[in-house]
């Protein structure tokens, strides 16, 4: 999971970016043929995302606390 650290050359930290891309931006409805990014779906996705991160990093964090 080295790809998810926020080194400067990669731009903003992924977590800050996701705050904005998954909860910000205009949500288009209506004529759009595919609409993915509604709020409920995003909440589920973020939950899954956080769980997947937890599974990968839980051990060292818990060892240190």
């Amino acid at each position: 999971m080295t790809g998810h650290a926020p080194p400067a050359e990669r731009g903003p930290a992924l977590v800050d970016l996701l705050d904005r891309l998954l909860a910000g931006g205009v949500v288009i409805a209506g004529d759009l043929t595919l609409r993915i990014a509604d709020v409920d779906l995003v909440r589920i996705d973020l939950h899954a995302l956080i769980c997947s991160v937890d599974a990968l990093v839980a051990a060292p964090l818990e060892a240190g606390s």
């Binding site: 910000g24 004529d31 595919l34 937890d54």
Partner: protein, 272 residues
């Protein structure tokens, strides 16, 4: 990409129609390593690019959104396009991640149907940028010395059940008091920064496991700031950040961002 492969159109942002902006986007690589082009309708255009339909249908996107590596690649590509647009366009209205149209006709129809709302949002965000401020409470300013700790050599029997419960209650109270003071300090910072901003938006606190940051994330806020007020805002944050350790806090600034957190508030009624 195989030219016979079916394509959808991944949309990044809406901007006012401009040859200069369209031209500047020609060299940018978007989602799925695809090109970016401007789809015009009247005085607006949507910045969009072809993506393989096999990978960007509704079901596939729902699956991909739960794949952290896909999500990161897509989010960074989305941000790259928005950043390139923001560098040349006075106002950029970012769209939510993974907004996909069947084709250009669908994108044009959207611009037509929502023309007035989109234009009003572009006007509202004109010349404004977003700054992110996060405050972490480090737990170091919790009141110390309020709890009497028995000397280590005190015989265990000397601590009665009642004393033990009393001590636990005092510890709990001290911890609650510490949290209250941290929240108060964070509110004070937020109030100061709100006075320098046009609008504010609070994001949920970040999961420390996702952010990798120590401490309790007590504030995760976005501030919409006039471009000319940017230096005043960032120096205010710098001052607050310098003072924060005395209150057991850390203040982090991110940005400037395109106004992601403010694009959707008034600008996008859910029903057309």
């Amino acid at each position: 990409m195989n030219p016979t492969q079916a394509r959808y159109l991944y949309a990044y942002a809406v901007v006012r129609a401009s040859d200069a902006v369209a031209g500047a986007l020609e060299t940018v690589t978007g989602v799925a390593d695809g090109p970016v082009r401007a789809v015009r309708h009247g005085d607006l255009m949507v910045l969009a690019g072809p993506v393989p339909a096999t990978d960007h249908g509704e079901r596939q996107l729902a699956e991909h959104l739960e794949d952290l590596d896909w999500l990161e690649r897509t989010a960074r590509a989305h941000q790259r396009v928005i950043g390139a647009a923001a560098a040349v366009a006075p106002s950029v209205l970012p769209l939510r991640l993974a907004t996909v149209f069947h084709d250009e006709e669908g994108a044009r129809a959207m611009l037509g149907a929502r023309h007035d709302t989109l234009l009003a949002a572009l006007d509202r965000l004109d010349g404004r940028t977003e700054w992110g401020v996060k405050i972490y409470a480090l737990g170091t300013a919790r009141p110390a010395g309020t709890v009497a700790v028995p000397p280590p050599d005190a015989p265990r029997a000397a601590v009665s059940g009642r004393d033990y419960l009393r001590r636990r209650a005092a510890e709990r109270h001290a911890a609650q008091e510490g949290v209250r003071r941290e929240d108060e300090a964070a509110r004070g910072i937020h109030t100061t920064l709100t006075a320098l901003a046009q609008e504010t938006r609070l994001h949920p606190p970040q999961n420390p496991r996702l952010s990798g940051q120590a401490g309790r994330n007590v504030l995760n806020a976005a501030y919409l700031v006039r471009r000319e007020d940017g230096p005043r805002f960032t120096s205010a944050v710098a001052q607050l950040a310098e003072r924060a350790p005395r209150d057991g806090m850390r203040v982090d600034l991110t940005g400037p961002w395109a106004p992601y957190s403010f694009a959707g508030t008034d600008a996008s009624p859910e029903s057309p």
